[in-house]
């Protein structure tokens, strides 16, 4: 029993690592891309379109496609993190884009009219006012990512999916639940915490 307990902990930590690392990368890539396409509108269709297409690739297939990639393909967790990052991009890019675009135009015009530079407008006005919407994107991406990360076990990346696949092979519901319940709790927790943050950061 205590051995099982330790295993659940270990797989939970692995799961957290996959989700945490991939969300970190996705935020680092997705938010700047979202900002970029508000500045250069010619890029919005190609970038949003690509992120959209990635989202439509079945997850198991994407893990398989990435296998031959150098360095990344060498370790299953790198592979899983890359795939999860790619999936998280769409909500992040789109929410950053929509968040900035939906800032009250009169506020932006007043700022520009008073002589704020573009970086000043971005950092002091547009990003702070878009933050609630951006965090909403992080929230959606994180919840999806917690669920998707269970599939990473299929390529040997570990995480709570181990139990789910093992339970499927053994036709043992209890083993499946040992993976599914902690994963569901993790998703719920992420949802509540990020939801609270989203509410706090939304302008009145």
């Amino acid at each position: 029993m205590s051995q099982n307990h330790a295993e659940v902990m270990e797989l939970t930590l692995e799961h957290l690592w996959l989700v945490g690392a991939s969300m970190f990368c996705a935020v680092l890539i997705g938010i700047p891309l979202g900002i970029l396409i508000t500045r250069w509108p010619v890029l919005d269709k190609p970038i949003l379109g690509s992120a959209n297409i990635i989202q439509t690739i079945p997850s198991l297939a994407l893990f398989g496609f990435l296998l031959p990639a150098p360095w990344i393909g060498a370790r299953a967790d790198r592979l899983a993190i890359l795939a999860l990052t790619l999936y998280a991009l769409l909500p992040l890019i789109r929410n950053t884009y929509v968040g900035i675009r939906s800032v009250d135009p009169s506020v932006v015009e007043a700022g520009r009219g008073m002589g704020m530079t573009n970086p000043q407008l971005l950092w002091q006005v547009q990003l702070p006012l878009a933050l609630g919407v951006i965090v909403a994107g992080v929230r959606v991406a994180t919840v999806i990512s917690v669920g998707l990360a269970t599939i990473a076990a299929a390529i040997g990346a570990g995480g709570l999916g181990e139990y789910i696949f093992r339970g499927l092979a053994m036709v043992n519901n209890q083993v499946i639940l040992a993976g599914a319940i902690p994963a569901a709790l993790m998703a719920l927790l992420a949802d509540v915490v990020l939801g609270w943050l989203e509410k706090r950061l939304s302008p009145r």
Binding site: S106, V108, E109, A110, G111, R112, G113, G115, R204
Partner: protein, 250 residues
């Protein structure tokens, strides 16, 4: 004295489409309040935005303080011009004090000087100093617009552009703010370009009134001249306000 703002043969069109402004010539003297009067789409706001280079003229020259707007560093140009718009555009995530102190802040004034200037401005526009720590959504429309005016005056710019600043206010608050504006202008003597479609407001506040119609300036008259004018377009505009402003009375 050289004009503070001069338009020489200025046209503005979007792409090759409709011309929003047609060969405008206009000279605005330092310290006067020029009203740009006209109906929606007559080119008033376009004219205003050409002055602080939010729009670039398709042809012609605009001079602000003896320098062409396209030769100005656009950021410096805008910081030397106060800008008040109907929607006010206060930053909802900034306190009132931070909203008012915005231009001084980006101009790197020392913090103590920004604070004393903010206090001074609140008093100038008739607001209590305890409002400074509040957020725009906690204020009434009239208070917000006063803050908008205070913000535009913060760095003491010689020129003030006002785009229907009192348009969204109830009639009583509007009358109050118009009165205060007159008083303020008597002591500050800014060069003001004021956009409105309200004839009463124009006659009350303007040193001179420029009537715009479909992108052309059709008249440039003082209030006294305006009410006596026999120009058909001026008459048409006056007739629309007939019950409120009897002929020959300003």
């Amino acid at each position: 004295m050289n004009p503070a703002i001069r338009f020489r043969d200025v046209s503005y069109r979007i792409g090759n489409a409709r011309e929003l402004l047609h060969h405008l010539n206009l000279e605005i003297q330092p310290g006067e309040t020029v009203i740009l009067l006209g109906r929606s789409g007559s080119g008033k706001t376009t004219t205003l935005k050409l002055i602080n280079h939010l729009l670039t003229p398709s042809s012609g020259d605009i001079t602000v303080n003896d320098r062409l707007t396209r030769e100005w560093d656009v950021i410096q140009l805008r910081r030397s011009i106060g800008y008040v718009i109907q929607d006010i555009g206060l930053f909802p995530h900034f306190t009132i004090a931070r909203n008012i102190g915005l231009v001084p802040k980006i101009e790197n004034w020392p913090e103590a000087k920004i604070q004393s200037r903010t206090r001074e401005l609140l008093q100038l526009v008739g607001l209590e100093s305890d409002i400074a720590a509040r957020y725009p959504h906690e204020l009434s429309g009239g208070q917000r617009q006063r803050v908008g005016v205070a913000r535009a005056l913060a760095a003491d710019p010689p020129i003030l552009l006002m785009d229907e600043p009192f348009g969204a206010l109830d009639p009583i608050t509007r009358a109050e703010l118009q009165r205060e504006f007159l008083e303020l202008q008597r002591s500050l003597r800014k060069t003001v370009v004021f956009v409105t479609h309200d004839l009463r407001e124009a006659l009350l506040l303007g040193t001179r009134i420029a009537l715009l119609e479909a992108g052309r300036m059709v008249a440039m008259l003082s209030a006294e001249e305006f009410v006596k004018s026999s120009d058909p377009l001026v008459l048409a505009y006056m007739r629309a306000f007939e019950p409120a402003v009897p002929r020959g009375q300003a």
